[in-house]
Amino acid sequence: MEQIGDNPFLPEDIIRTILKSLPVKSLIRFRCVCKEWKNLLKTPSFITEHLHHPMNENPLLLLQWGHKLDPLHFHILNHKMQLLEVQPPLPLMDSSLRTEIVGCSNGLLCVNYYDLETSLPFLLLVWNPATREIRHVPNPIKHKIQYFALGFGFSPVDNDYKILVSLERADIDSLSNPLEVYSLRTGSWKEIKVEDFGGLGISDFAATVDGAMFWFGHKVTNIAENDFFAYDEMVVSFDMVMEVFTLIPLPCDDDDLRKSFLSVYENKLAMLCDTENENYESYRTDLWVMEEGAFPSGERWSWSKKYSISTPSSIYPRGIWLEKIVCIALPTYDEPEPEINHRTMDVLYMLNPSTHEWVHFNCRQVGYQFSIIFNYAESLMPIANIHPCS
């Protein structure tokens, strides 16, 4: 019988391959093995290879309480459907503060601490929950009273993470307001000039795909006699390298699209829509995917409807996780019992678009009702030293 002591010395490349398959928690501990391992574990190429290792292919679902009542709870759901609580980056300094996740990329989260009453920002930080590293983001250059984080994401071309903020409220007229971008690599803010989009507002949450942030955009076109607003709707993208905005038309569909969420499907921008027919008897969830390129039609963008699935009740898609559409049910006004509302709200529905199979996940055990979801993978990604591409 060979003993452990008879183990051969493994060459560096084999050790590197083994270490890439280890979870972040173990790797953090193994930084203390020797200097060589410590240095290897902070090498940018190792960190990137580890992040893209097949073991990390099953991202975790990061859930955030969406009703602003609960101050700072994040939960993580793994592919075995185990729900784990995540300790927030910083304790709550003041009971009037709340937290929200601005975005999530390569294991880094951008978290905004804001005042519940005024919605004014208090603190913006970038956080790696796996390594527990935190970076406080300084105030924007022209920050006087307020700013609103619009998005956070990774830009692969310049190997940088960027935060986009608007210095006025985000929902109305936001792209006509002063905008600034923070670069994690340079550690500084920069004002960005955009052409006048005149009254263009964007949705709360950005989906980030391949170096660009995407929102739903809306613009009031005219006010009709009966005081109803007419809107032009589109997708607004922000290229994190060029720092320019582009307006992308939405697909044409026979039905009136009820655009629910932007997400990522097979590394492409995806749009989730929920639709009900006129007599509110049947419900449907659609998954659209956008591709950019030169198309024969002369268009720069092409939308295709990948899936259209009948759903048993009115549910609201919130994103895509492990190729499944994650949905929540919101309370309907005609349900008289608040208890019923409660019951329907703490269930997540995972819909497999290709098999039409449903999985229900009951969050009642923890008593939270999630409405914002992010795909999150643990990583060793450092926050302090982001290196430019070599």
């Binding site: 060979e2 391959t17 083994i18 398959s21 979870p23």
Partner: protein
């Protein structure tokens, strides 16, 4: 190479003879090259040596023979599922004692499937180990000075060098 040959004989680094079927040997690129280069007919007495010890080579050949039918003909999902279960059992056996030897052999023989499987097995074993256990199995000396250890402890409270 004569097409009538179904199995070949190879020598381990300990000098023991082993039989391996041609289809199983094809899982390894170097073995495949050997098949093309070396004459394996009966009147040829050259027996190639594989730089892997006998104990490890037994396991490597066992793996190859099991995986060969699937690698050569493609497999249904149920076969793949069965093979996955077999891999888990294969790695559960006394392999732990020779895991690092298997890693070296799979690397040397360019056997991607076995290499990935062995790396994952090693990672699973290491997951819960302490720093000193890791140093022991990898023959690593703690080369941090006491000042460096102190500094690391300050940077990462709770880190352990034992």
């Amino acid at each position: 190479m004569s097409s009538s040959v179904e199995a070949i004989t190879v020598l381990s680094s300990d000098g023991d003879e082993f039989k391996i079927t041609v289809s199983a040997a094809k899982l390894s690129k170097p073995l495949n090259w050997m098949l093309e280069d070396v004459c394996f007919s009966d009147d040829c007495d050259e027996v190639p040596t594989i730089e892997v010890n006998s104990k490890t080579l037994v396991k490597v050949i066992e793996y190859c023979e099991k995986h060969a039918p699937r690698a050569n003909s493609g497999a249904s999902d149920s076969d793949a599922e069965e093979l996955k279960k077999w891999d888990i059992e294969f790695m559960k056996m006394d392999v732990k004692d020779i895991l690092f030897h298997i890693l070296m052999a799979a690397n040397y023989l360019h056997m991607e499937g076995l290499y990935d499987l062995a790396c994952q097995t090693a990672a699973d074993l290491m997951k819960g180990m302490t720093v000193s256990q890791i140093r022991k199995i990898f023959h690593i000396k703690n080369d941090f000075s006491s000042e460096e250890q102190e500094q690391l402890r300050r940077q990462h409270p709770g880190c352990s060098f034992d």
